[in-house]
Symmetry: C2
Subunit: 406 residues, 2 copies
């Protein structure tokens, strides 16, 4: 007997599932003598199955390498320690030592076994972490989480960089009178594409599941959520999605519960991915690019990304000036099989191009669509069955102004 999924945004996120604790502290990582929350810990006294998906950038930050090594070793995981404001990337051998020190300090302060903590950093590249202040923050946070702190919202706040708001959500479902919960927190902002971004996402759940099963589910979900968004086309050195499962709900993953759990995991990741695009640096619009009829899913993805990353396309969305010619130009260099005289394009449900022929009389209607803060561009290639959905943002003067200095 299983129920439908209940879903809520702006929740405590990672502390909603049973047996997960979290808190945040101010380590003044940015050296600005302020009280900004910039360090966080998630902790489960019960050992967890854990899986991760990481940046495909060949330049990887030290904490990414540590996470990969620990997850590969298969040790049970008790927690995650995070800092924002500094990515600990391109920091040489000292950076490698600092990342490991964050892990060891957390384990020691929580009395957890060796290699039972994962670590993430996000922020500026190329500068060393202020390890004295971070170590102090870790010891304070460890005391709080081992005493039962459930400050999931504070944790969600501590991981933000240029984000303007918290990104959390929670899904629950019932199985034989027991409640399974999946909670998540994320940060995004810039560098959002094509295989994650300066994005971190942390998902906790109290279902019982083997790491190998969880990994397969996560890879499939990430492909359609965190890996199907773009803000500026840059891919960061630190992108990480981590999922911890501690089994405290008393429900385990089996043929009866798998579909529901996957749906809950999908809903959480999809919601967090959407929040990342919607909070992209100085954006004004979220555009869903729906490609269908491509020769393959890969072709559809290439087309969607060429469009979603074209500066000319993104600026025209910003200007409420839907120039479908720029869509055609971008899909033309997408390295996909195309017949320009077969393509249909519509803005929401307003056709702009039918079998390659413009429908100029619809222009007032499609201009109206593009003036909305959210709309869809639907393109049918008429080449096959391939499809892909990409969520993208516009590009504004504010983005340039924001990123022109550190």
């Amino acid at each position: 007997m299983s129920s439908e999924i209940q879903f809520k945004e702006d929740t405590a996120g990672v502390t909603d599932p049973k047996g997960f604790f979290a808190t945040a502290a101010s380590a003044d990582v940015r050296n600005k003598q302020d009280e900004r929350l910039d360090a966080g810990i998630v902790y489960s006294p019960t050992p967890c199955s854990a899986v991760g998906v990481f940046t495909k950038n060949a330049v990887k930050a030290a904490p990414v390498s540590d996470c990969e090594r620990i997850l590969d070793s298969g040790t049970p995981i008790h927690g995650i320690v995070v800092n924002s404001g500094n990515a600990n990337a391109c920091t040489g051998t000292q950076g490698i030592a600092d990342s490991l020190e964050m892990i060891r300090a957390s384990e020691s302060a929580c009395s957890a076994p060796r290699d039972s903590f994962l670590v993430c950093s996000t922020g500026r590249i190329g500068e060393l972490l202020p390890m004295d202040r971070i170590s102090q923050a870790i010891s304070i946070m460890a005391r709080l989480v081992t005493q039962g702190a459930t400050a999931g919202a504070g944790f969600a706040q501590s991981i933000l960089t240029s984000d303007t708001r918290n990104k959390t959500c929670t899904a629950t479902f019932e199985v034989d009178g027991k409640t399974v919960t999946v909670g998540g927190a994320a940060k995004g902002a810039g560098m959002i594409q094509p295989n994650m971004a300066t994005m971190l996402a942390f998902v906790t759940t109290d279902i019982g599941v083997e790491s190998s099963e969880l990994k397969a589910l996560l890879l499939d979900v990430v492909a359609h959520t965190f890996n199907a968004i773009t803000v500026d086309g840059d891919m960061s050195t630190n992108d990480t999605v981590l999922v911890l499962a501690n089994g405290e709900s008393g429900v385990t993953l089996d043929t009866q519960t798998e579909a529901l759990f996957k749906e809950a995991l999908y809903k959480v990741c999809d919601c967090l991915a959407d929040k990342i695009v919607a909070d992209g640096e100085r954006i004004t619009k979220v555009v869903e690019i729906l490609i269908s009829g491509a020769a393959s899913d890969g072709d559809a993805e290439n087309i969607a990304r060429a469009i979603g990353n074209s500066l000319l396309v993104k600026t025209s969305w910003y200007g409420n000036d839907p120039n479908w010619g720029r869509l055609m130009d971008a899909l033309g260099y997408a390295e996909a099989q195309i017949d320009q005289y077969a393509i249909d394009i519509s803005y929401d449900d307003v056709p702009a191009l039918v079998s390659g022929d413009p429908v100029p009389e619809n222009k007032p209607k499609w201009k109206e669509v593009v003036s909305k803060p959210r709309f869809a561009i639907k393109i049918d290639m008429h080449q096959g069955e391939g499809k892909f959905r990409l969520r993208a943002s516009d590009l504004t003067e504010g983005y340039v102004d924001f990123n022109k200095s550190e």
Copy 2:
């Protein structure tokens, strides 16, 4: 006996070689009731060898297809007819007919044989050409060029779209007392990458050369000039480079003259390519990205393009805030063989990273470099012998503002 090459910018360009005539007219292509020059003809009474390099965009404008067909047929060429303000791209069967009509009208008005004119259009995508006004302009221009008009600068002006200035140059050299001239005109502005751009370039020369030899030289030159620049990462539907050679100098290409001619052709194309980047839409800086020591030339090119097209990198140049961490991030996703602990980066000759270790004490010096309107970023990958040079521009709020509407 052959001399060194003489080179000049801001010349008459296409009419500098012997036996080439050109003019421009106002066809009011944009339907704004203004007198802007937006149609041009280049004409040689002597039949020419001709070669072209075209956009690799799968969505090709009608005039591109016409040029390819005519050049493939091998007929001698007498001229080129061009309009700006409308790309005649994504214009369906009417666009195909209009492109051919521009060719036929020019041939007829110049009493030139069938398929002896090439055609180019540049500007907005998806709208039909005002053929009545264009035909009228063609008949006026044909009269002028057949009567000996040498308005090369006017022609260069007529092909501009969002460019702010003319782009012309001329190279000459002497062989046995005879002068060989290579003249060129180009337009650029946005959509400049990776295999040409909304760019048109026209080069004329009075050397005598077979099309097949000329094609080989042009392909090599274009790879290092027009195909090694980027403004916004977009590649257009209309990019075209055309070279016409009429033999009027009395000098022919042979083992004695080939090196000099190739150098002259390179100088003309390199100068025009540089002018295109320097006049990119609302840019403030031209940055030369010099990659060396990559595992292959292809790797070096991937790295240079990842950097030159990264929004985060380009905005930091604009802000005079040289964030080398963003360079590392971009090269990390370039799909090249890298060892992040082997990389050297310098701004002009100021090291910022040596064997992957930051040199923070140099920061004031490299900030000074990035504040200049032109500077170089030199990256040695220490992986092999691969190298590539890419010229790129910064990204400004002005670009976004300029492109947010038609």
